[in-house]
Each structure stands twice: as C-alpha cells, then as structure tokens.
Subunit: 118 residues, 2 copies
C-alpha cells in the first residue's frame, strides 16, 4: 500500500509552516532530522501521544510534504523530505530544526517500540 504524498512542486509554504506550527510535529521533525535520513519506524513516536493522535500528526506531516511514509510489511517507516524541502524553501528546514533543537518546551521522542499503523 502506498499512501498519498504531494509532489515536490505541490508543497506550499503556508501549509508547511502551519503543519510545523505544532509542538508534537516539531518534535517528530527534530527527531527525524537527528537521524540524517534513516527511515524511522513510527513506533518511535509513541511517547508523543495516543496512536490516534500520533496517526493524525504523521498524516498532517505527510500530506504537507514534510515527511514521507512508506509501508514496509506491517510497519510504517517515516523519513524527512529534506531534499524536496531544501529545494523548495532554501534554509527554512535548517533554521526550524536549529530553533527546535534548543527548545526545551518541545516534547522529547523516546524509545517506545510498540507497533502502530499510521
């Protein structure tokens, strides 16, 4: 199963900013950025909220073009669309990640390992 993603040229600035304007989603993006492109199992993010809540946030990120979600067996693997975002909005993601990196008010992503569908 392939979930829908916008093409790079369909990614829009207002929607990316609006989607990043949430502490849980910023925490997910900060964590993905720290993994330098390695796809993360979405179960990594279960500390951030209920499965329903997390699925909602992961869908918002995917639909905005911020992340890519790929189904691998029964898992969902999440990556940051760094190349697409850097091409569309140079410097934006780096400045957001740098600002989020210093932000003690954002939730931390832990190491919960339960499976989840997103």
């Amino acid at each position: 199963m392939t979930l829908p993603h916008p093409n790079a040229d369909q990614i829009t600035l207002p929607i990316v900013l609006a989607v990043l304007g949430d502490p849980t989603r910023l925490a997910i993006v900060r964590f993905l950025a720290s993994k330098e492109g390695v796809p993360m199992n979405c179960s990594k993010f279960l500390d951030l909220g209920s499965k329903t809540n997390l699925s909602y946030h992961l869908a918002k990120l995917r639909e905005a073009g911020v992340t890519r979600t790929e189904a691998v067996g029964t898992n969902r693997m999440i990556t940051l669309r760094r190349d697409d975002l850097d091409r569309r909005f140079p410097g934006l993601l780096d400045s957001v990640i740098a600002a989020a990196g210093d932000d003690k008010a954002l939730p931390m992503v832990g190491a919960a390992e339960i499976e989840i569908g997103a």
Copy 2:
C-alpha cells in the same frame, strides 16, 4: 493605548510557525520585510480582506511576537519584530521571507489607504 505584546523571550517557535502558516499573514510579513523596518499604517493591508478579517490577522501576528502594533493618534502602525525574531530563531525569518518572495500564490498587498483600527 498600548496593545499587549509578548517579550522577546516569550516568543515560541510553534506559535510563530503556526501564525506564519497562513497566506494572508505571510503576505503581510513579506510586505513589512520589503519596507525594511519602516512602520506601515495598517490601512496598507486592506486589500487583503475585510476590516474584521484583517484585524484578526494583525492581532494573531502581534500576539505571536511577529509584529509590533503601535497606536499613533487614531492610526495603527505595524512593524516586523525582525531583531527579536532573528535573535530567537536565527535565519528563520529570512528563509520564510525568501520563500514567500517567490510565491505567486500569496495575495499581494496593494495601496488601499482607508483607515482601519487593528
């Protein structure tokens, strides 16, 4: 009359991003940035919507710490809080303004000159 503004250290990343994640507010920020710190009468933004709608957007920008609104007589003068934002989130505002500068989908700020309260 002085409208309430957050101190620089009360400005938070999620709220700034959420507030910038709107085409009308991005158009306002892009226009203010093009004026290099000169306060703009809020009547400049009347092309962007009704007075009520515009007052709402200007209040959101002010409350997030993105803009400063000062009452000068019966006018409201708006400036971008560039120094505060650059100190809190280095590079963020510049990358947003650069991305918005190229964005044909954002509304344009024209030269309507009617007075408005915001």
